[in-house]
């Protein structure tokens, strides 16, 4: 038997967990905000924050392409984009692929995380932090949005850690926060947020969906399987004007070409609509979930 002794036990619930063998430890330490491990597993370079897989070298493209492109392609001309979180730099990497984007403002609370990305996660950001269209601000995302002028952005992308008690992301999943996001979006603007798993935390997903639907006229949930998350991962779009479900495959293909959107590894016009499809069980859960996440009673992950 080959000896393997360093392992991550990623607890999903108190009664189930995933074991990842650590081939090599690149970094392991605490910042002011979170505990960060950058290791090598069978998924390649593997980033964990507070013991939860954030993204891995081998499948981060599925998550990041699915987060970014449905929203940006739904907008006719996304010029100003705001990204909250996304410390690996892969979200801005995908945003920058759209040649119509003129400016990406990226807000991250944790400068150490950004430094670690620059040092260890080149395969994620691919130099995007140095792109002249990018402006990086180390700040609290909620405060930044609240201080921003109205109607500043075409797109807001929320790529932050799951809401757990004590995490800095808590206040980025509430009704009050989404109201602020609404305000900073232009009149045809739209937002997208990662929305946790539609399988092991479907109630959280449904709560985020419901909360956004109380702020935006058009709300759409979608999800995609991310292998290293062992689960379908959910996203919710809140939109003032455009509906991602009214775009035909032809129109999507046209926009992809027009924007010179290259080097996609997962997303394509033929999968766009399928991302929004859900089984009866999930549709029914969303239908019956009428829980609003507020600053007073924010939604939290089940574990």
């Amino acid at each position: 038997m080959e000896n393997r002794w360093r392992w991550i036990i990623e607890w999903l619930t108190p009664e189930s967990a995933h074991l990842w063998y650590i081939k090599k430890i690149l970094y392991s330490g605490k910042t002011k905000y979170q505990e960060i491990d950058i290791v090598e597993t069978e998924m390649g370079v593997h980033l964990l924050i507070d013991g939860k897989t954030q993204s891995t070298e081998f499948d981060e493209f599925i998550y990041h392409e699915s987060l970014v492109h449905p929203a940006l392609l739904t907008h006719e001309k996304p010029s100003e984009v705001l990204v909250i979180g996304g410390g690996e730099g892969a979200t801005i990497r995908e945003v920058l692929k759209h040649n119509v984007v003129e400016k990406v403002t990226m807000i991250d609370i944790d400068d150490i995380m950004i430094e670690l990305s620059k040092k260890y996660l080149l395969k994620w950001h691919k130099g995007s932090f140095n792109n002249p269209r990018v402006k990086l601000v180390i700040a609290d995302g909620r405060e930044f949005i609240e201080k921003s002028p109205s109607a500043s952005y075409d797109i807001v992308i929320l790529d932050v850690t799951d809401p757990t008690p004590g995490s800095p992301s808590n206040k980025l999943y509430t009704y009050e926060f989404y109201k602020s996001v609404y305000k900073v979006l232009k009149e045809d603007g739209l937002m997208v947020t990662q929305a946790t798993s539609t399988s092991f935390s479907a109630e959280v997903f449904a709560t985020i969906y419901y909360t956004i639907s109380k702020v935006f006229p058009i709300t759409r949930g979608y999800h995609v399987f991310v292998p290293s998350f062992l689960s379908m991962w959910g996203f919710v779009i809140g939109s003032k004007k455009y509906d991602p479900l009214t775009l035909s495959e032809d129109e999507l293909k046209k926009r992809i070409l027009a924007r010179n959107l290259r080097n996609l590894s997962f997303y394509h016009e033929g999968i766009h609509r399928a991302l929004f499809a859900m089984g009866k069980n999930l549709l029914e859960l969303i239908e019956k979930t009428k829980r609003l996440s507020t600053d007073q009673t924010p939604v939290y992950m089940p574990i």
Copy 2:
């Protein structure tokens, strides 16, 4: 800390595994063909064969509905259905929901597994073994098919364990076997097989797809996320005449109503087409995989 001491470590590769806490052990033993554990986990009653999750009380409906309904709805009038495997009895349960089905022949190699199902897996089979439309035969699936008269069935459903060295399922994923399946199908018949994971064993899926495509004029792959498999699970349809992708949502809905197809928990006409959608990476892998699984060089799972 609450003490939890009985666990399943389900190895997916030598470098990753899943931990399931066992609340209760219902059965654990060996048959002539396989090692069977029926336990209770957070997924409810949980069936493992040779240490691999086969299905669980809480999400077996996703797997079984996805296995059965796309194929049966694609056929205009599936009257005679053959099921190989499916020892839990849930596959025939779903087949029987179609009122047009007149006869289901179920072949399983392992009579002990069937006895265990009858005793422990009532939530799966719901009494289907006693349905007068069902004929259960304990036999080797391959031999049964080879001895069957030509053009006997409208539908053949292959619901057997993954191909691993030494497993009785090995010879149910080869070119020669699919040729025999082709022969027993009527002129407008079609087959569907489970085809392993499209994430952690995508090459196996692609090989099964390629092999079936060398036998049937119409071949379609699809997949669905099954939580207890921690993965998208793949299926391949091989069809002589009907194409599952030419059915409109309206036509599907009409057939669902006409067949009085009730009590679906996952599948619905709105998700049918989405099941067949795949990311660029998987489409490219299928495109480039030209490996034929034969009796001489059968395909095996990577671990």
Copy 3:
């Protein structure tokens, strides 16, 4: 890699645990008092109560010989012996090896445990339950002792599970209880109790030692390494008259021969004194531990 999927994770603390591969499950269930698993591991048949290893086929002789023989050999003529606990039947097996013993009364609270022993643990009890010198009483050990006439026994052996909140053994490690044991012992009688680990629960051991020393004029602690406990296991003798440390090797050898004490696999006169030796660290801990375990404030295991 050979596939091994059923495991016991025996938690020693929240930060360490032992993994035992389960080859086979013989029994797993709950009685009125405890949760019992009888499995096969690399230690042979392996008994766990409430997720804690109680004894295993391959090394139970070390524990049971060390529990019984130092005490019985210290007494000049142990004729009447009382055993509380010891459901596997191995403690009475060792007691019966002393031909001077005329009667062993065994008290166990859990009749189901006794039935399971008779069915699965033949290698432990070796038929001892049927020995005419044995009288088995299903009863609460504490109540039994409290109702017993004074000066009834030469030896009392306490072979019960570790004291944890909610366990039936809790009240068998207190000052009040040891007072009752003192009372039922004859004027030259002595008791011995298992006293938990002298490594990972040394404070518990020291507390039991201190508590017994407040009741008996002679108190001696000793310990032995039991592989399946991954630890030195402690015992405490409380004695009215005889001191186990005043016996020479010659005298011990003479008694072993005189009593026709055969089939010993671990204990011998040459190791008797060494069992009572302890490192400076443990001696100092015992010296400074002045905690009395009482019915009001009983001692508990750290986890």
Copy 4:
């Protein structure tokens, strides 16, 4: 539940392992000779080489005191001491406590390990590397001994990793090697070696014992429980003249005082003899094991 995700799984056999929660990673990397992890667990700072616990902050004193003091106290005046291995610096720390020692030569093959000790293991070496009585040589232990003049040392201490295929320690457990050790010892000299576990690798211990007994006139095995090894740990003394078992407690105490041997945390004159005591099962195993470890057929650990 508190989230704990970084774990060591220390495999003892293919069917059992120990889980250690990693609070913090201090170092993890490869040298030319071995893979080294220095982490913090519930045992404090915890050193692993090739995935095996070497020593921990909380209990290294038990191992190192037991390795050094029985041998040094057995010798009437140990002046020149040779240590092979012992990279943590704790073995020389214990040797230096004997004020009669004039010179300690320490040989370690791995200069990186020494650098890591100096940086991370201050609690082990306590500055001993800078003691003027110490001479550190980075060299292959076997070659060093073979090149040394005859009759150079009073004591040789072998503190190297267990013999496993491919490890640099392999050739330090053979008949040929012990012959060389014999040669470099003065006429009243003695050697001591760690000799692996007397529980889970008792055959290896017995083989080392037998091999040394073919070289030295006096051979004595002993063992001590080391909590982080989850086992009794064995040592073997090979001696030309002195016998550790002929020393009375009084004589030991006298020597301890005369040598100003202070700050002992485990070893004392009262435990010396007990260390050499063994159960019948182990005595019988040693008795029947007649296997010689040679350069051609060296002894290896079972896993």
